[in-house]
Symmetry: D2
Subunit: 311 residues, 4 copies
């Protein structure tokens, strides 16, 4: 007899809809540039068992909805737009019980031009802004984040006093380069209802969190990347009362001091040094920092090196 199988967690929707909203305020234009991924869950037993689509809002419709709601309501912020979409899907169809909206936002800076017109832009660096809004019909979970923010300290980093075993060869150091690509996701107390107070100004709150992360990275005299990570996370919790927890994923972008002794050259001194910036392998340091009393809910693997790709 065939063993019985059961349907577990499942979700579906259109991923990576690239929507750009241009707003015109006279000759001054504004741009919001998003990548939106929708994941819906609900009464989906039949479609999995027999291909009966009666409960399915198609992924094509979820894509159309992204464009239409951007037109009808605008994009105030990734968090606002995600909440709008999530509520729309759950309210709109009784078969949809939960909606999760993941958003990336790409920033644009103005190209300075003479005259009053302001409609020219160059894409900014400094990483990508992210947001995830999940709504189950009652309350929302609102996550904000960023990724691809590459930072580097040329000094004020030491590494020693660690465990040694049979396979340890790393020499201790009292001065190294410390560099990482920051990926961070933080969870807000605000849940879309008034229970935890009014919603923050999402754009201002994001800019503040980003600035605190950079400042904590720059001003922490570091004895390990774990310590720097904890300082960065704690700073956000301490400074932003509306943030309950933050998850950080920090690859250690190794900058190895090049051995120039074979060429009769010293490679360290008061004037600096030459480093090799390595690709793989890399240390990967990940941790959650929580406000005392808060629950841990942010996913653990923000940047999983699995699956990856061959050299």
């Amino acid at each position: 007899m065939t063993p019985a199988t059961r349907l577990g967690q499942n979700q579906y929707g259109k991923a990576e809809t690239r929507v750009v909203r241009v707003t015109r305020d006279g000759t001054t234009h504004h741009v919001r540039d998003l990548n939106v991924s929708v994941a819906l869950s609900g009464d989906m037993e039949a479609v999995h068992r027999s291909g009966d689509n009666a409960a399915v809002l198609t992924t094509d419709t979820t894509k159309n909805t992204v464009f239409a709601l951007a037109r009808e309501h605008g994009i105030a912020s990734p968090e606002d737009f995600g909440l709008l979409l999530a509520r729309h899907f759950v309210a709109g169809q009784p078969t949809i019980h939960r909606a999760r909206i993941r958003i990336e936002e790409y920033a644009w800076e103005r190209i300075p031009t003479p005259g009053e017109a302001a409609h020219s832009f160059v894409r900014a660096g400094g990483g990508t802004r992210t947001a995830q809004i999940t709504f189950d019909g009652r309350r929302a979970e609102i996550l904000s984040g960023l990724t691809g923010v590459t930072v580097l300290n040329t000094t004020d980093s030491e590494f020693h006093g660690y465990l040694k075993d049979r396979y340890t060869t790393l020499p201790e150091t009292t001065d190294r380069v410390l560099a990482t690509d920051v990926t961070a996701v933080w969870r807000h107390a605000h849940d879309g209802t008034g229970a935890a107070g009014a919603a923050p100004d999402w754009d201002a709150a994001h800019a503040a969190a980003r600035a605190y992360l950079l400042d904590a990275f720059a001003t922490t005299y570091s004895y390990s990347l774990q310590q720097t990570l904890f300082a960065m996370g704690s700073r956000v919790i301490e400074e932003l009362p509306g943030v309950e927890e933050i998850r950080l994923s920090l690859p250690n972008k190794h900058h190895f001091l090049v051995d120039l002794e074979p060429f009769g050259l010293a490679n360290e001194g008061p004037d600096g040094a030459v480093y090799f910036a390595a690709d793989r392998p890399y240390g990967l340091i990940e941790a959650t920092v929580l406000r005392d009393g808060a629950e841990q809910r942010v996913p653990v693997d923000l940047t999983a090196p699995w699956p990856g790709g061959p050299a």
Copy 2:
């Protein structure tokens, strides 16, 4: 007063160590080509709070260990090697309580050559094999998987009978191309102890799972990608008694029938058609299929379109 912060889940280790093990059996050589990522957890409060590294086995040491154990014990399979590494780290240091090893394996095929020597290879396609072994000192959780297996049916796929709302424009169809990139992860009953019986032959078990997934994709007459997904997952559960659950993540790689009417051309008929293979956005269908009575433990997001990248 500064609010108190608490350290939540944390893990660290060297990610993406690219180890290649060549074994020589006379003039016949064998290759195992892995990408290994180590994540350790344990007594890590001090290193986060103050940078005290006394409990830390460095990520550099975890990298060295990958190479050394590959030399000392060989690489029988990704699952065996991951279990060996995970046990080593937990057994070796009292401060390390849990080790998670993620592995990708890249396959090589032999280049046929005259004579007895067999030491030339060409990298095979057909996706990447994956494995994740987690060990907490008592038992192991062993996951096997694959990713990047791109499959396509040119017919035997319909899509209709779905919900329509204000934003639905998709026409129903009784014949479409169905294509996807399979990512799958399945969990074994075997937990590294004898409790659930002997370990399977990991290589044979993986080849069987892959073949069942492809066969179920090819032979399921499909009314939705969800149905195809469930058939693929069920087939593995039904045929492989040692598998408890399987998670599948299937992007719908849309192949849109090109509208050639403006050029006076019919684009469908008994002789075939011309399609546009789209990049983004794409439907993303994800679900877990469980053996009746099994717990759901495989992570839900195998291939998160977040964070991604701009167009």
Copy 3:
């Protein structure tokens, strides 16, 4: 006075149109899966100087043409389809004097299924097939190629006897792993006219060239990657009388023997060894091999590590 500027070489068109042609032969289906890039040149002074588009066939039209011609004429091979397109553009508009069509083809293998129906496929590995056809109204230049074919010899490779200067530290070796990603482009004598004889069977010619490249890689006892490259290129010239020249770009995918001495382990012996597969930097060896008397016309930079991306 403003200095005068002059318009130099220019070309335009739609890049990366992803066209999939399904052909039905009863219940046996066939797939050709291409990525087509069109580049047109001609009377384009006005459009550059003043934006007068009167001579411009739009890139959107070139895309439509790819789909329409795939429907009307089918895709016999990348070379045939490229020639068809190039001739169409030059013959169709007096303002277009030259068309260059670049094509990649992705291969699919059949998934074996019971019964007569044959319409299920899995994408094959083993690299991408390429072609470039340029037509100037009189004759065509036809290039075929491949890229992403990763090969590896576990022995029969030495490296010694090289120049030493102040900055040389590399130890000589009489046994190393030799691995590379083959990118090759070769030029045919056939020019679309009958001047150099009939056109070859393009699919068969491509399969033969690929097989010769792999065989030459596998069977050449190597003292340098340059020597292996020249043997690979010469083999194609020697075996395929219709090929005039071939360009090869071979990154040296370094597999470094891991130093395990600090752990008391020998890492070489009759039973094999453990290697670290490195990403960057890598040696890059590039050369053209010509049939005696042939002109060199294939572009020199097939795979330019410039521009690339940060670590």
Copy 4:
């Protein structure tokens, strides 16, 4: 008889050496972060024919040289460092007749911190700076460039008046979004000798060229991307007397106005609109602009969509 084969153009060297030079000026640190690729040519017949390495400076040595010269001489600019390296290789070995150095530079901005110390950085966006220096023993060819500079105008772009043929369906428009990723390479009159005057301040010259390109993009009322390209190139030639020619490769990053009529929504008006940012296919516009009397020498294909990758 085996047909004779001939060795054509060939070059070799280490590609993508990632060198980071930190300079300390008291507590103010400076960073130059490069990716350097070396390609050498010379007396290489023997190594290709027989694997005789006597004339070969190994790619490993070229990598060591990059690090050592960065330490000994510093990195004043990509152009200066490339010239230093190219001269070193040609002067250092009689078997090396020509050296081509390709460099990418990644920019870092300071993270503002209190106090005097200045050693913290965040990677800047806005694209990558490039340079290529080729030296043949007598004179150098010096190219500067940039890539990955993404720009967008939300208006002041029209497209109409183009050729129509059987396959033309594109509607004309008098208001569209115009966006592109700028890749540009320009050639300097300065050739490393005094013949064309003193070398410019390379950093200042690069910043000026970048600013002119952005300004020309932003202030050109556009009737075609070709016109915008020519305006951008001409501006650089007109403003920078030391530049002889410039090559531009501009993908048309299509932003399609979404059709919202099926939902009863107008998607254009004085308040803006919603666009879909497409990936592939894309228009690709490439041209060289020359100072009157200058020769065209910059390579034609800066960003070849060939080979690429499957969807």
